[in-house]
Protein backbone atom coordinates (compact mmCIF):
# COMPACT_ATOMS: atom_id res chain seq x y z
CA UNK A 1 0.00 0.00 0.00
CA UNK A 2 2.81 2.34 0.90
CA UNK A 3 4.40 1.46 -2.39
CA UNK A 4 1.37 2.49 -4.37
CA UNK A 5 0.99 5.76 -2.50
CA UNK A 6 4.62 6.58 -2.92
CA UNK A 7 4.51 5.77 -6.62
CA UNK A 8 1.52 8.03 -7.17
CA UNK A 9 3.28 10.82 -5.32
CA UNK A 10 6.29 10.39 -7.53
CA UNK A 11 4.26 10.49 -10.72
CA UNK A 12 2.46 13.64 -9.59
CA UNK A 13 5.77 15.27 -8.76
CA UNK A 14 7.02 14.44 -12.22
CA UNK A 15 3.95 16.01 -13.79
CA UNK A 16 4.41 19.14 -11.74
CA UNK A 17 8.02 19.38 -12.83
CA UNK A 18 7.00 18.90 -16.44
CA UNK A 19 4.43 21.65 -16.14
CA UNK A 20 7.04 23.92 -14.60
CA UNK A 21 9.40 23.15 -17.43
CA UNK A 22 6.76 23.99 -20.02
CA UNK A 23 6.13 27.36 -18.43
CA UNK A 24 9.82 28.09 -18.27
CA UNK A 25 10.35 27.14 -21.90
CA UNK A 26 7.40 29.17 -23.06
CA UNK A 27 8.51 32.23 -21.13
CA UNK A 28 12.11 32.08 -22.23
CA UNK A 29 11.19 31.57 -25.84
CA UNK A 30 8.85 34.55 -25.79
CA UNK A 31 11.50 36.69 -24.13
CA UNK A 32 14.06 36.11 -26.81
CA UNK A 33 15.17 39.29 -28.47
CA UNK A 34 14.67 39.79 -32.14
CA UNK A 35 11.45 40.50 -33.92
CA UNK A 36 10.49 37.36 -35.67
CA UNK A 37 8.69 39.12 -38.41
CA UNK A 38 12.01 40.65 -39.41
CA UNK A 39 13.53 37.24 -39.61
CA UNK A 40 10.70 35.64 -41.46
CA UNK A 41 9.53 38.34 -43.76
CA UNK A 42 12.69 40.39 -44.01
CA UNK A 43 13.18 44.00 -42.88
CA UNK A 44 11.37 45.42 -45.87
CA UNK A 45 7.98 43.99 -45.08
CA UNK A 46 5.11 46.42 -44.76
CA UNK A 47 3.04 46.92 -41.63
CA UNK A 48 0.10 45.17 -43.17
CA UNK A 49 2.15 42.13 -44.07
CA UNK A 50 3.54 41.96 -40.56
CA UNK A 51 0.10 42.27 -39.04
CA UNK A 52 -1.10 39.45 -41.25
CA UNK A 53 1.80 37.23 -40.33
CA UNK A 54 1.34 37.90 -36.63
CA UNK A 55 -2.37 37.15 -36.76
CA UNK A 56 -1.82 34.01 -38.77
CA UNK A 57 0.47 32.50 -36.22
CA UNK A 58 -1.56 33.65 -33.26
CA UNK A 59 1.12 35.91 -31.84
CA UNK A 60 -1.36 38.70 -31.25
CA UNK A 61 -3.30 36.78 -28.65
CA UNK A 62 -2.67 37.41 -24.99
CA UNK A 63 0.29 35.47 -23.66
CA UNK A 64 -1.55 33.12 -21.28
CA UNK A 65 -3.92 32.19 -24.07
CA UNK A 66 -1.00 31.43 -26.35
CA UNK A 67 0.43 29.18 -23.67
CA UNK A 68 -2.84 27.32 -23.26
CA UNK A 69 -3.25 26.92 -27.01
CA UNK A 70 0.20 25.45 -27.18
CA UNK A 71 -0.32 23.02 -24.31
CA UNK A 72 -3.70 22.07 -25.69
CA UNK A 73 -2.07 21.32 -29.00
CA UNK A 74 0.64 19.23 -27.39
CA UNK A 75 -1.89 17.11 -25.56
CA UNK A 76 -3.89 16.46 -28.70
CA UNK A 77 -0.88 15.78 -30.86
CA UNK A 78 -1.03 18.96 -32.90
CA UNK A 79 2.29 20.72 -32.58
CA UNK A 80 1.48 23.53 -34.92
CA UNK A 81 3.50 24.81 -37.80
CA UNK A 82 6.94 26.18 -38.18
CA UNK A 83 6.68 29.94 -38.38
CA UNK A 84 9.40 30.14 -40.92
CA UNK A 85 8.79 27.35 -43.32
CA UNK A 86 5.17 26.52 -42.59
CA UNK A 87 5.90 22.82 -42.38
CA UNK A 88 3.96 20.84 -39.84
CA UNK A 89 6.09 20.40 -36.77
CA UNK A 90 4.46 17.09 -36.02
CA UNK A 91 5.50 15.73 -39.38
CA UNK A 92 9.07 16.94 -39.00
CA UNK A 93 9.30 15.41 -35.54
CA UNK A 94 7.96 12.15 -36.86
CA UNK A 95 10.62 12.10 -39.54
CA UNK A 96 13.54 13.15 -37.37
CA UNK A 97 12.77 11.54 -34.06
CA UNK A 98 13.58 7.99 -35.17
CA UNK A 99 17.04 9.12 -36.26
CA UNK A 100 17.95 10.65 -32.94
CA UNK A 101 16.25 7.84 -31.10
CA UNK A 102 18.32 5.28 -32.98
CA UNK A 103 21.54 7.08 -32.13
CA UNK A 104 20.53 7.37 -28.50
CA UNK A 105 19.31 3.81 -28.15
CA UNK A 106 22.38 2.25 -29.75
CA UNK A 107 24.64 4.46 -27.66
CA UNK A 108 22.88 3.35 -24.50
CA UNK A 109 23.24 -0.31 -25.47
CA UNK A 110 26.95 0.04 -26.21
CA UNK A 111 27.49 2.06 -23.06
CA UNK A 112 25.81 -0.45 -20.78
CA UNK A 113 27.49 -3.44 -22.40
CA UNK A 114 30.93 -1.90 -22.16
CA UNK A 115 30.70 0.54 -19.27
CA UNK A 116 29.22 -1.61 -16.54
CA UNK A 117 31.63 -4.56 -16.82
CA UNK A 118 34.48 -2.05 -17.08
CA UNK A 119 33.32 -0.40 -13.88
CA UNK A 120 33.09 -3.73 -12.09
CA UNK A 121 36.55 -4.81 -13.12
CA UNK A 122 37.97 -1.46 -12.18
CA UNK A 123 36.42 -1.66 -8.73
CA UNK A 124 37.63 -5.16 -8.04
CA UNK A 125 41.20 -4.25 -8.95
CA UNK A 126 41.08 -0.88 -7.28
CA UNK A 127 44.54 -0.60 -5.81
CA UNK A 128 48.12 -0.51 -6.96
CA UNK A 129 49.35 0.42 -10.41
CA UNK A 130 46.36 -1.16 -12.11
CA UNK A 131 44.19 1.10 -10.02
CA UNK A 132 46.12 4.19 -11.01
CA UNK A 133 45.90 3.32 -14.70
CA UNK A 134 42.19 2.69 -14.31
CA UNK A 135 41.68 6.02 -12.58
CA UNK A 136 43.64 7.82 -15.25
CA UNK A 137 41.75 6.26 -18.12
CA UNK A 138 38.38 6.89 -16.53
CA UNK A 139 39.29 10.53 -15.85
CA UNK A 140 40.46 10.82 -19.44
CA UNK A 141 37.18 9.46 -20.72
CA UNK A 142 35.18 12.26 -19.18
CA UNK A 143 37.72 14.91 -20.09
CA UNK A 144 37.41 14.74 -23.85
CA UNK A 145 34.46 16.84 -24.96
CA UNK A 146 32.20 15.41 -27.62
CA UNK A 147 32.71 18.30 -29.98
CA UNK A 148 36.46 17.84 -29.90
CA UNK A 149 36.28 14.11 -30.39
CA UNK A 150 33.80 14.61 -33.19
CA UNK A 151 36.04 17.17 -34.83
CA UNK A 152 39.11 14.96 -34.52
CA UNK A 153 37.26 12.01 -35.95
CA UNK A 154 36.09 14.03 -38.91
CA UNK A 155 39.66 15.14 -39.42
CA UNK A 156 40.98 11.62 -39.13
CA UNK A 157 38.37 10.19 -41.45
CA UNK A 158 38.71 12.83 -44.12
CA UNK A 159 42.51 12.76 -44.21
CA UNK A 160 43.01 9.07 -43.68
CA UNK A 161 40.10 7.76 -45.67
CA UNK A 162 39.20 4.63 -43.67
CA UNK A 163 36.21 3.99 -45.87
CA UNK A 164 33.70 5.63 -43.60
CA UNK A 165 31.91 8.51 -45.16
CA UNK A 166 30.93 11.57 -43.26
CA UNK A 167 27.67 13.30 -43.88
CA UNK A 168 26.44 10.75 -46.36
CA UNK A 169 23.16 10.27 -44.67
CA UNK A 170 20.23 8.56 -46.23
CA UNK A 171 17.02 7.56 -44.55
CA UNK A 172 16.34 4.10 -43.30
CA UNK A 173 13.60 3.56 -45.87
CA UNK A 174 15.86 4.35 -48.78
CA UNK A 175 19.04 2.61 -47.79
CA UNK A 176 19.31 0.90 -44.42
CA UNK A 177 22.98 0.22 -44.88
CA UNK A 178 23.89 3.84 -45.47
CA UNK A 179 21.53 4.87 -42.70
CA UNK A 180 23.37 2.86 -40.08
CA UNK A 181 26.71 3.61 -41.66
CA UNK A 182 26.19 7.32 -41.23
CA UNK A 183 25.28 6.80 -37.60
CA UNK A 184 28.41 4.87 -36.69
CA UNK A 185 30.59 7.90 -36.07
CA UNK A 186 28.04 9.82 -33.98
CA UNK A 187 27.46 6.73 -31.87
CA UNK A 188 31.18 6.17 -31.38
CA UNK A 189 31.72 9.75 -30.29
CA UNK A 190 28.83 9.71 -27.84
CA UNK A 191 29.77 6.29 -26.50
CA UNK A 192 33.24 7.34 -25.45
CA UNK A 193 31.96 9.94 -23.04
CA UNK A 194 29.06 7.82 -21.85
CA UNK A 195 31.13 4.69 -21.25
CA UNK A 196 33.53 6.73 -19.16
CA UNK A 197 30.71 8.17 -17.04
CA UNK A 198 29.00 4.83 -16.52
CA UNK A 199 32.26 3.04 -15.75
CA UNK A 200 33.20 5.65 -13.17
CA UNK A 201 29.87 5.54 -11.44
CA UNK A 202 29.68 1.77 -11.51
CA UNK A 203 33.11 1.64 -9.96
CA UNK A 204 32.05 4.00 -7.19
CA UNK A 205 28.87 2.07 -6.55
CA UNK A 206 30.66 -1.26 -6.36
CA UNK A 207 33.42 0.08 -4.13
CA UNK A 208 30.79 1.42 -1.76
CA UNK A 209 29.13 -1.95 -1.59
CA UNK A 210 32.38 -3.82 -1.03
CA UNK A 211 32.89 -1.94 2.21
CA UNK A 212 29.47 -2.70 3.61
CA UNK A 213 29.52 -4.97 6.68
CA UNK A 214 27.37 -7.67 5.14
CA UNK A 215 29.83 -8.13 2.29
CA UNK A 216 32.66 -8.43 4.80
CA UNK A 217 30.56 -10.89 6.76
CA UNK A 218 30.27 -12.95 3.61
CA UNK A 219 34.03 -12.85 3.09
CA UNK A 220 34.45 -13.98 6.69
CA UNK A 221 32.27 -16.99 5.92
CA UNK A 222 34.77 -18.02 3.27
CA UNK A 223 32.62 -17.36 0.23
CA UNK A 224 34.37 -16.96 -3.11
CA UNK A 225 34.46 -13.56 -4.81
CA UNK A 226 32.23 -14.78 -7.66
CA UNK A 227 29.62 -15.94 -5.17
CA UNK A 228 29.69 -12.66 -3.30
CA UNK A 229 29.42 -10.62 -6.47
CA UNK A 230 26.60 -12.70 -7.82
CA UNK A 231 24.48 -12.85 -4.71
CA UNK A 232 25.29 -9.69 -2.81
CA UNK A 233 27.15 -7.06 -4.80
CA UNK A 234 25.03 -7.02 -7.93
CA UNK A 235 21.77 -6.35 -6.21
CA UNK A 236 23.14 -3.80 -3.81
CA UNK A 237 25.00 -1.89 -6.49
CA UNK A 238 22.08 -2.00 -8.91
CA UNK A 239 20.33 1.06 -7.56
CA UNK A 240 23.21 3.53 -7.85
CA UNK A 241 24.03 2.17 -11.29
CA UNK A 242 20.43 2.57 -12.37
CA UNK A 243 20.52 6.18 -11.24
CA UNK A 244 23.36 6.79 -13.62
CA UNK A 245 21.32 5.55 -16.53
CA UNK A 246 19.03 8.45 -15.80
CA UNK A 247 21.91 10.87 -15.93
CA UNK A 248 23.09 9.19 -19.10
CA UNK A 249 19.91 10.14 -20.86
CA UNK A 250 20.48 13.75 -19.88
CA UNK A 251 24.00 13.69 -21.28
CA UNK A 252 22.81 12.09 -24.48
CA UNK A 253 20.10 14.63 -25.06
CA UNK A 254 22.71 17.36 -25.14
CA UNK A 255 25.31 15.34 -26.95
CA UNK A 256 23.10 14.53 -29.90
CA UNK A 257 22.88 18.24 -30.71
CA UNK A 258 26.60 18.39 -31.18
CA UNK A 259 27.19 15.17 -33.08
CA UNK A 260 24.29 15.82 -35.41
CA UNK A 261 25.80 19.21 -36.13
CA UNK A 262 29.28 17.92 -36.81
CA UNK A 263 28.32 14.80 -38.73
CA UNK A 264 25.46 16.39 -40.61
CA UNK A 265 22.73 14.04 -39.50
CA UNK A 266 19.15 15.24 -39.82
CA UNK A 267 17.85 14.45 -36.37
CA UNK A 268 16.11 16.37 -33.59
CA UNK A 269 19.32 17.98 -32.40
CA UNK A 270 20.18 19.71 -35.64
CA UNK A 271 16.51 20.66 -36.02
CA UNK A 272 16.60 22.45 -32.72
CA UNK A 273 19.81 24.19 -33.52
CA UNK A 274 18.61 25.68 -36.79
CA UNK A 275 15.32 26.62 -35.18
CA UNK A 276 17.17 28.55 -32.51
CA UNK A 277 19.09 30.40 -35.10
CA UNK A 278 15.87 31.38 -36.82
CA UNK A 279 13.82 32.12 -33.72
CA UNK A 280 11.27 29.57 -34.85
CA UNK A 281 9.28 29.54 -31.62
CA UNK A 282 7.09 26.60 -32.29
CA UNK A 283 9.88 24.20 -33.05
CA UNK A 284 11.98 25.37 -30.13
CA UNK A 285 9.17 25.04 -27.64
CA UNK A 286 8.13 21.62 -28.70
CA UNK A 287 11.62 20.21 -29.11
CA UNK A 288 12.83 21.37 -25.71
CA UNK A 289 9.62 20.21 -24.06
CA UNK A 290 10.08 16.82 -25.63
CA UNK A 291 13.66 16.60 -24.44
CA UNK A 292 12.69 17.55 -20.90
CA UNK A 293 9.80 15.12 -20.96
CA UNK A 294 12.07 12.28 -22.02
CA UNK A 295 14.41 13.04 -19.18
CA UNK A 296 11.66 13.35 -16.59
CA UNK A 297 10.04 10.11 -17.66
CA UNK A 298 13.38 8.30 -17.56
CA UNK A 299 14.08 9.61 -14.08
CA UNK A 300 10.62 8.49 -12.98
CA UNK A 301 11.09 5.00 -14.37
CA UNK A 302 14.49 4.74 -12.70
CA UNK A 303 12.97 5.77 -9.40
CA UNK A 304 10.15 3.28 -9.61
CA UNK A 305 12.47 0.43 -10.59
CA UNK A 306 14.95 1.30 -7.84
CA UNK A 307 12.13 1.18 -5.42
CA UNK A 308 11.24 -2.29 -6.54
CA UNK A 309 14.80 -3.52 -6.13
CA UNK A 310 15.75 -2.02 -2.79
CA UNK A 311 13.17 -2.82 -0.12
CA UNK A 312 14.58 -0.22 2.24
CA UNK A 313 13.35 2.52 -0.06
CA UNK A 314 9.76 1.36 0.28
CA UNK A 315 9.74 1.77 4.00
CA UNK A 316 11.33 5.18 4.13
CA UNK A 317 9.16 6.44 1.34
CA UNK A 318 11.85 6.94 -1.18
CA UNK A 319 15.03 8.12 0.44
CA UNK A 320 17.75 5.72 1.36
CA UNK A 321 19.54 8.30 3.43
Amino acid sequence: MIVVLWSIRRVLAALVTLAGVSVLIFASVRLMPGDYTDLVLGPLATEAQRALAVAASGLDLPIPEQYLRWIGGVLTGDLGYSFVSNVSVTEEFAARLPVTATIAALTVVVTLLVGIPLGFVSALRAEGSAGAVGRFVSALGISVPEFLLAGLLVFAVSTLGLGISVGQYSSFAEDPGRFFGSLVLPIVVLSVGCVAVVARNTRDAVLNVLVEPHVQASVARGETPMFIIRHHVLRNAAVPILTIVGALVAVLLGGTVIVEFVFNVPGMGSYLQTALGRRDYNIIQNAVLLAAAVFIVTALVVDLVSNAIDPRLRLTGGSRR
Binding site: L18, G20, F155, L207, L276
Partner: protein, 294 residues
Amino acid sequence: MTITPTTTQRLVTARDRTFGAWRRVDGLARLATIVLGALVLLTVVAVLTGVFGSTSATIGGRFAPPSPLAPLGTDNLGRSFLPRLFEGIATTLVVSIVAVLCSAAISTLIGMIAGYYGGAVSELVMRIVDVLYAFPALVLAILVSALLGPGRPAAIVSIVAITIPLMTRVVRVATRTVAERDFVVSARISGVRTPVIFARRLLPNIAGTVVVQASYALSVAILVEGGLSFLGFGVQVPEASLGLLIQQGMLAMTFAPHLLIVPGAVLVVAILCINLIGDSLRDRLEPRETRSLT
Protein backbone atom coordinates in the same frame (compact mmCIF):
# COMPACT_ATOMS: atom_id res chain seq x y z
CA MET B 1 49.03 14.02 36.64
CA THR B 2 50.57 15.06 33.36
CA ILE B 3 50.73 12.64 30.54
CA THR B 4 54.04 12.64 28.79
CA PRO B 5 54.45 10.47 25.74
CA THR B 6 56.60 7.45 26.26
CA THR B 7 59.95 7.52 24.59
CA THR B 8 58.63 5.14 22.01
CA GLN B 9 55.98 7.43 20.60
CA ARG B 10 57.05 9.99 18.08
CA LEU B 11 55.10 13.16 18.38
CA VAL B 12 53.19 13.70 15.17
CA THR B 13 54.60 17.07 14.30
CA ALA B 14 53.14 19.76 12.14
CA ARG B 15 55.81 18.98 9.57
CA ASP B 16 54.57 15.42 9.43
CA ARG B 17 51.10 16.67 8.81
CA THR B 18 51.86 18.92 5.83
CA PHE B 19 54.41 16.70 4.18
CA GLY B 20 52.40 13.70 5.09
CA ALA B 21 49.48 15.26 3.32
CA TRP B 22 51.53 15.90 0.22
CA ARG B 23 52.92 12.41 0.27
CA ARG B 24 49.49 10.92 0.77
CA VAL B 25 48.15 12.63 -2.31
CA ASP B 26 48.76 10.12 -4.99
CA GLY B 27 51.29 10.65 -7.72
CA LEU B 28 48.74 11.28 -10.42
CA ALA B 29 47.09 14.14 -8.60
CA ARG B 30 50.43 15.65 -7.76
CA LEU B 31 51.39 15.60 -11.43
CA ALA B 32 48.04 17.09 -12.35
CA THR B 33 48.45 19.93 -9.88
CA ILE B 34 51.89 20.78 -11.22
CA VAL B 35 50.77 20.71 -14.85
CA LEU B 36 47.68 22.76 -14.19
CA GLY B 37 49.62 25.22 -12.08
CA ALA B 38 52.18 25.67 -14.83
CA LEU B 39 49.47 26.22 -17.42
CA VAL B 40 47.72 28.85 -15.31
CA LEU B 41 50.98 30.58 -14.52
CA LEU B 42 52.00 30.73 -18.18
CA THR B 43 48.60 32.04 -19.15
CA VAL B 44 48.63 34.76 -16.52
CA VAL B 45 52.09 35.85 -17.63
CA ALA B 46 51.11 35.78 -21.29
CA VAL B 47 47.95 37.78 -20.84
CA LEU B 48 49.26 40.33 -18.41
CA THR B 49 52.58 41.05 -20.04
CA GLY B 50 51.88 40.26 -23.69
CA VAL B 51 55.33 38.75 -23.88
CA PHE B 52 54.24 36.19 -26.47
CA GLY B 53 52.94 38.80 -28.86
CA SER B 54 49.83 40.75 -29.55
CA THR B 55 46.49 39.07 -30.05
CA SER B 56 45.16 41.47 -32.60
CA ALA B 57 48.10 42.49 -34.76
CA THR B 58 48.33 41.00 -38.19
CA ILE B 59 51.86 39.86 -38.61
CA GLY B 60 51.87 37.71 -41.66
CA GLY B 61 49.97 35.76 -44.21
CA ARG B 62 47.01 33.61 -43.28
CA PHE B 63 47.68 30.13 -41.93
CA ALA B 64 51.42 30.61 -42.12
CA PRO B 65 53.52 27.79 -40.67
CA PRO B 66 55.39 28.25 -37.37
CA SER B 67 58.17 30.83 -37.50
CA PRO B 68 60.29 32.76 -35.01
CA LEU B 69 57.78 35.61 -35.09
CA ALA B 70 54.80 33.33 -34.66
CA PRO B 71 55.84 30.20 -32.77
CA LEU B 72 52.56 28.45 -33.53
CA GLY B 73 51.94 29.93 -36.91
CA THR B 74 49.14 32.32 -37.80
CA ASP B 75 45.40 31.97 -37.86
CA ASN B 76 42.76 32.78 -40.43
CA LEU B 77 43.36 36.52 -40.12
CA GLY B 78 47.13 36.38 -40.06
CA ARG B 79 47.41 36.91 -36.31
CA SER B 80 49.99 35.02 -34.32
CA PHE B 81 48.28 31.99 -32.87
CA LEU B 82 50.23 31.61 -29.65
CA PRO B 83 48.99 34.71 -27.87
CA ARG B 84 45.47 33.97 -29.06
CA LEU B 85 45.78 30.52 -27.57
CA PHE B 86 46.67 32.00 -24.21
CA GLU B 87 43.83 34.47 -24.48
CA GLY B 88 41.54 31.57 -25.21
CA ILE B 89 42.74 29.67 -22.18
CA ALA B 90 42.34 32.75 -20.02
CA THR B 91 38.80 33.43 -21.21
CA THR B 92 37.73 29.84 -20.73
CA LEU B 93 39.22 29.64 -17.25
CA VAL B 94 37.91 33.00 -16.09
CA VAL B 95 34.39 32.31 -17.33
CA SER B 96 34.35 28.85 -15.77
CA ILE B 97 35.81 29.85 -12.44
CA VAL B 98 33.53 32.87 -12.03
CA ALA B 99 30.52 30.75 -12.92
CA VAL B 100 31.44 27.94 -10.54
CA LEU B 101 32.08 30.36 -7.68
CA CYS B 102 28.65 31.91 -8.14
CA SER B 103 27.06 28.53 -8.51
CA ALA B 104 28.79 27.15 -5.43
CA ALA B 105 27.71 30.12 -3.35
CA ILE B 106 24.09 29.88 -4.44
CA SER B 107 23.93 26.09 -4.20
CA THR B 108 25.51 26.04 -0.77
CA LEU B 109 23.06 28.59 0.54
CA ILE B 110 19.88 27.03 -0.79
CA GLY B 111 21.16 23.52 -0.21
CA MET B 112 21.84 24.29 3.43
CA ILE B 113 18.43 25.87 3.83
CA ALA B 114 16.72 22.90 2.24
CA GLY B 115 18.74 20.40 4.24
CA TYR B 116 18.40 22.17 7.57
CA TYR B 117 14.69 22.99 7.50
CA GLY B 118 13.52 19.98 5.60
CA GLY B 119 9.83 19.44 5.02
CA ALA B 120 7.94 21.84 2.78
CA VAL B 121 10.86 24.21 2.33
CA SER B 122 13.05 21.39 1.14
CA GLU B 123 10.36 20.13 -1.22
CA LEU B 124 9.86 23.56 -2.73
CA VAL B 125 13.56 24.15 -3.29
CA MET B 126 14.08 20.73 -4.80
CA ARG B 127 11.08 21.11 -7.11
CA ILE B 128 12.45 24.35 -8.50
CA VAL B 129 15.89 22.86 -8.83
CA ASP B 130 14.41 19.79 -10.52
CA VAL B 131 12.83 21.97 -13.20
CA LEU B 132 16.25 23.34 -14.04
CA TYR B 133 17.73 19.86 -13.88
CA ALA B 134 15.18 18.52 -16.34
CA PHE B 135 16.64 20.61 -19.15
CA PRO B 136 19.43 18.87 -21.02
CA ALA B 137 22.54 20.86 -20.21
CA LEU B 138 23.52 22.06 -23.62
CA VAL B 139 19.96 22.87 -24.60
CA LEU B 140 19.59 25.00 -21.49
CA ALA B 141 22.84 26.76 -22.31
CA ILE B 142 21.71 27.50 -25.84
CA LEU B 143 18.38 28.79 -24.56
CA VAL B 144 20.10 31.09 -22.12
CA SER B 145 22.39 32.46 -24.78
CA ALA B 146 19.44 32.98 -27.09
CA LEU B 147 17.80 34.96 -24.30
CA LEU B 148 20.77 37.04 -23.25
CA GLY B 149 22.53 37.27 -26.53
CA PRO B 150 25.71 35.28 -27.13
CA GLY B 151 28.88 36.15 -25.27
CA ARG B 152 30.59 35.76 -21.94
CA PRO B 153 27.66 36.69 -19.68
CA ALA B 154 25.50 34.09 -21.40
CA ALA B 155 28.17 31.46 -20.91
CA ILE B 156 28.48 32.29 -17.24
CA VAL B 157 24.75 32.28 -16.60
CA SER B 158 24.24 29.00 -18.45
CA ILE B 159 26.99 27.31 -16.47
CA VAL B 160 25.46 28.54 -13.24
CA ALA B 161 22.03 27.28 -14.29
CA ILE B 162 23.44 23.89 -15.24
CA THR B 163 25.60 23.28 -12.18
CA ILE B 164 23.25 24.52 -9.47
CA PRO B 165 20.93 21.46 -9.45
CA LEU B 166 23.79 19.00 -9.03
CA MET B 167 25.51 20.84 -6.24
CA THR B 168 22.32 21.76 -4.40
CA ARG B 169 21.32 18.12 -4.13
CA VAL B 170 24.63 17.08 -2.70
CA VAL B 171 24.74 20.01 -0.27
CA ARG B 172 21.23 19.25 0.90
CA VAL B 173 22.03 15.61 1.65
CA ALA B 174 25.27 16.53 3.40
CA THR B 175 23.56 19.21 5.47
CA ARG B 176 20.88 16.80 6.57
CA THR B 177 23.47 14.39 7.85
CA VAL B 178 25.34 17.07 9.77
CA ALA B 179 22.19 18.77 11.08
CA GLU B 180 21.13 15.60 12.85
CA ARG B 181 24.31 15.40 14.83
CA ASP B 182 24.31 16.29 18.46
CA PHE B 183 26.45 19.38 18.34
CA VAL B 184 24.00 21.07 15.99
CA VAL B 185 20.94 19.96 17.92
CA SER B 186 22.47 21.22 21.14
CA ALA B 187 23.27 24.56 19.54
CA ARG B 188 19.68 24.93 18.44
CA ILE B 189 18.34 24.01 21.84
CA SER B 190 20.61 26.46 23.61
CA GLY B 191 19.25 29.21 21.43
CA VAL B 192 22.11 29.92 19.07
CA ARG B 193 20.77 32.06 16.23
CA THR B 194 20.29 30.25 12.97
CA PRO B 195 22.72 32.22 10.79
CA VAL B 196 25.41 31.50 13.35
CA ILE B 197 24.59 27.80 13.32
CA PHE B 198 24.86 27.85 9.56
CA ALA B 199 28.16 29.64 9.52
CA ARG B 200 29.93 28.06 12.46
CA ARG B 201 28.56 24.55 12.71
CA LEU B 202 27.13 23.46 9.38
CA LEU B 203 29.40 25.16 6.91
CA PRO B 204 32.77 23.90 8.17
CA ASN B 205 31.49 20.36 8.12
CA ILE B 206 30.16 20.42 4.59
CA ALA B 207 32.98 22.53 3.19
CA GLY B 208 34.87 19.46 2.06
CA THR B 209 31.91 18.14 0.10
CA VAL B 210 31.34 21.54 -1.47
CA VAL B 211 34.96 21.79 -2.59
CA VAL B 212 34.87 18.35 -4.18
CA GLN B 213 31.62 19.09 -6.01
CA ALA B 214 32.94 22.47 -7.10
CA SER B 215 35.95 20.85 -8.68
CA TYR B 216 33.74 18.53 -10.72
CA ALA B 217 31.49 21.48 -11.54
CA LEU B 218 34.57 23.29 -12.85
CA SER B 219 35.28 20.54 -15.34
CA VAL B 220 31.62 20.57 -16.40
CA ALA B 221 31.80 24.35 -16.74
CA ILE B 222 34.77 24.21 -19.08
CA LEU B 223 33.03 21.56 -21.16
CA VAL B 224 29.85 23.61 -21.39
CA GLU B 225 31.69 26.80 -22.29
CA GLY B 226 33.59 24.89 -24.91
CA GLY B 227 30.49 23.34 -26.42
CA LEU B 228 28.57 26.59 -26.36
CA SER B 229 31.33 28.57 -28.04
CA PHE B 230 31.90 25.75 -30.49
CA LEU B 231 28.29 25.93 -31.64
CA GLY B 232 28.55 29.68 -31.90
CA PHE B 233 26.38 30.61 -28.95
CA GLY B 234 29.11 31.48 -26.53
CA VAL B 235 32.15 33.66 -26.76
CA GLN B 236 32.19 35.48 -30.06
CA VAL B 237 34.91 36.72 -32.37
CA PRO B 238 37.12 38.74 -32.12
CA GLU B 239 37.47 37.39 -28.59
CA ALA B 240 38.88 33.95 -28.12
CA SER B 241 38.02 30.95 -26.03
CA LEU B 242 39.13 27.37 -26.31
CA GLY B 243 35.81 26.24 -27.75
CA LEU B 244 35.86 28.99 -30.33
CA LEU B 245 39.44 28.24 -31.28
CA ILE B 246 38.56 24.61 -31.75
CA GLN B 247 35.68 25.52 -34.00
CA GLN B 248 37.91 27.76 -36.10
CA GLY B 249 40.51 25.04 -36.10
CA MET B 250 38.01 22.60 -37.50
CA LEU B 251 37.35 24.86 -40.46
CA ALA B 252 41.08 25.04 -41.19
CA MET B 253 42.02 21.51 -40.31
CA THR B 254 42.90 20.28 -43.76
CA PHE B 255 45.77 22.70 -44.19
CA ALA B 256 46.66 23.75 -40.66
CA PRO B 257 45.73 20.84 -38.38
CA HIS B 258 47.72 22.21 -35.47
CA LEU B 259 45.12 24.97 -35.14
CA LEU B 260 42.66 22.27 -34.15
CA ILE B 261 44.93 19.89 -32.31
CA VAL B 262 46.75 22.34 -30.05
CA PRO B 263 43.72 24.01 -28.46
CA GLY B 264 42.06 20.62 -28.31
CA ALA B 265 44.99 19.11 -26.46
CA VAL B 266 45.14 22.04 -24.05
CA LEU B 267 41.43 21.69 -23.35
CA VAL B 268 41.70 17.97 -22.65
CA VAL B 269 44.75 18.42 -20.45
CA ALA B 270 43.08 21.16 -18.41
CA ILE B 271 39.90 19.17 -17.84
CA LEU B 272 41.85 16.00 -17.12
CA CYS B 273 43.98 17.70 -14.49
CA ILE B 274 40.93 19.17 -12.81
CA ASN B 275 39.21 15.79 -12.76
CA LEU B 276 42.25 14.02 -11.34
CA ILE B 277 42.60 16.66 -8.65
CA GLY B 278 38.89 16.41 -7.91
CA ASP B 279 39.16 12.63 -7.60
CA SER B 280 42.08 12.96 -5.23
CA LEU B 281 40.32 15.63 -3.19
CA ARG B 282 37.35 13.37 -2.86
CA ASP B 283 39.48 10.48 -1.70
CA ARG B 284 41.05 12.67 0.95
CA LEU B 285 38.06 14.62 2.19
CA GLU B 286 35.66 11.72 2.07
CA PRO B 287 38.07 8.88 2.56
CA ARG B 288 36.86 5.48 1.75
CA GLU B 289 38.18 2.39 3.39
CA THR B 290 39.11 -0.13 0.75
CA ARG B 291 38.32 -3.77 1.20
CA SER B 292 38.84 -6.65 -1.12
CA LEU B 293 36.95 -9.83 -1.62
CA THR B 294 39.77 -12.11 -0.52
